[in-house]
């Protein structure tokens, strides 16, 4: 069983690759079909965020262990322009560009844990987790 996967995100095609790898890993970890779809959707949104705002970045996904329960952790990093107002970016419906403004806040709703760190001019890191219950 593969426990860690790294996907370089350089174009929209890579969004599909990242989400398929995340789906495969989540299935391996024993997540239900419904949860696997939620995880894949969350990966899709953070990957799209990289393509739309930073042009390129990477997504690392791996198995984690919490208090007894295993889970999946997804870390999306880019060295793009960064987000000056993270709170605003996390508001539902807020979009600086062509999107619906649901990507990042939507991904947060789909996962159990969601953390975003961004520095203007340096880039953004999104870390999210879902636990197998």
């Amino acid at each position: 069983m593969e426990n860690e996967t790294l996907t370089e995100i350089r174009s929209a095609v890579d969004i599909v690759t990242a989400r398929q790898r995340g789906r495969a890993l989540a299935l391996d970890l024993g997540f239900s079909g419904g949860d696997v779809t939620l995880i894949a959707a969350a990966i899709s949104e953070v990957a799209r965020n990289i393509v739309d705002h930073a042009k390129q970045g990477q997504i690392v996904m791996h198995r984690i262990h919490g208090k007894g329960d295993p889970g999946i952790q997804i870390i999306a990093t880019d060295e793009g322009p960064g987000i000056s107002d993270v709170a605003q970016a996390m508001q539902y419906g807020y979009s600086t560009r062509k999107g619906l403004g649901v990507g990042l806040p939507g991904a947060k709703w789909l996962m159990d844990e969601f953390d975003i760190i961004s520095h203007v001019g340096k880039g953004t890191t999104v870390t999210m987790k879902k636990w197998l219950r």
Partner: protein, 125 residues
């Protein structure tokens, strides 16, 4: 290469998505449908998304754009085959297909179009 085959069935077009789609495929589907609705003078379009594993914010936006664009070209669109898990994820994401017809499957989609296209004024009613 045509990622999404489009079949002509009477006055309708049926686009059956065969595999996971990239953004470019969705844009291509939009352009192909817009062109064919004109070429075949179609009154209705069914987009079958049964195989899609995820309908994310971009795909939702594209499906909405396609439906609204085809409406402007005079055709009704119905999206069929959204799977339960996919629908659940869409709800969690807050994504809606407002203003776009949806139906359970191809059969229901055809029934939907039959009803909708008969209601257009000026066609023997």
């Amino acid at each position: 290469m045509l990622q999404v085959p489009i079949l002509k069935q009477g006055g309708y077009l049926i686009a059956s998505i065969q595999s996971v789609l990239s953004d470019a495929d969705l844009l291509q589907l939009r352009d192909n449908l817009a062109e064919r609705v004109g070429r075949f003078r179609s009154r209705g379009v069914i987009i079958d998304v049964t195989v899609l594993d995820v309908i994310d914010s971009f795909a939702t936006r594209m499906l909405r754009a396609i439906a609204h664009m085809l409406k402007l070209r005079g055709a009704e669109t119905v999206i069929v085959g959204i799977q339960p898990d996919v629908a659940f994820a869409m709800v969690q994401l807050g994504l809606t297909l407002e203003g776009v017809g949806t139906a359970l499957d191809l059969e229901e989609g055809l029934a939907y179009l039959n009803t909708r296209t008969k209601q257009l004024p000026g066609h023997g009613k």
